[in-house]
Symmetry: C2
Subunit: 120 residues, 2 copies
């Protein structure tokens, strides 16, 4: 069997399948964005923050108490979530109140929880 045209260390076993799937694959950017989204919620702390904010608008200090973590740590994660556009904040006096700003997050959580519960 002839060496394949692609730069990988094996021969093509099913060229038809490979070409068909390659044709249907979204581009690199799409996968990067998709992975970035899941990576964003793929952290226990951020999961807990997002879940808490889905219940109620909260300031950094409230969240620190709910998570039992330092303000600094929570603030760092909130900054990450804000940069990614899944939470937004408003300032009121000395406090900064955060809220969820993305409907998809809740849906992802719902399916994620389904996944966990349906795994015998």
């Amino acid at each position: 069997m002839a060496r394949n045209e692609f730069s990988c260390d094996c021969n093509i076993i099913h060229q038809d399948a490979v070409l068909e799937v390659l044709d249907k694959m979204p581009n690199e950017d799409t996968f990067n964005h998709l992975a970035d989204l899941f990576k964003l919620i793929g952290d226990t702390t951020r999961c807990r923050i997002l879940f808490a904010l889905d219940q109620k608008e909260m300031c950094v200090c409230d969240l620190s108490n709910v998570l039992n973590m330092t303000k600094s740590s929570v603030s760092h994660q909130l900054a990450t979530l804000r940069r990614s556009g899944v939470v937004k904040c408003r300032k009121s006096g000395k406090e900064v109140y955060y809220t969820l700003d993305d409907d998809h997050i809740v849906k992802l959580f719902e399916i994620g929880l389904e996944h966990i519960n349906h795994k015998n």
Copy 2:
């Protein structure tokens, strides 16, 4: 204001909110499993593998060609996905064929793609 009972470096601003949210929060295990699930699909390579397998059953060599990566690298990621129970495999001759083994993954991808496209 009295120092709070929780071991964090700030005072409670809204004790009612904190207690209410704490009451609704799932336990630690749940968040760990949830985060692990999203972490699993929070990687470009694994996203691409799962997307490809959603199109068609494929062997490691096929996937290596689709992804343009070494067999070793793909095999490592497949082992991770297998350990987590989102793909399964069957051996046939020298080849090992992988398929998706979790309906939730496709749903998560759908919502993820929605998220990406609905962002301005």
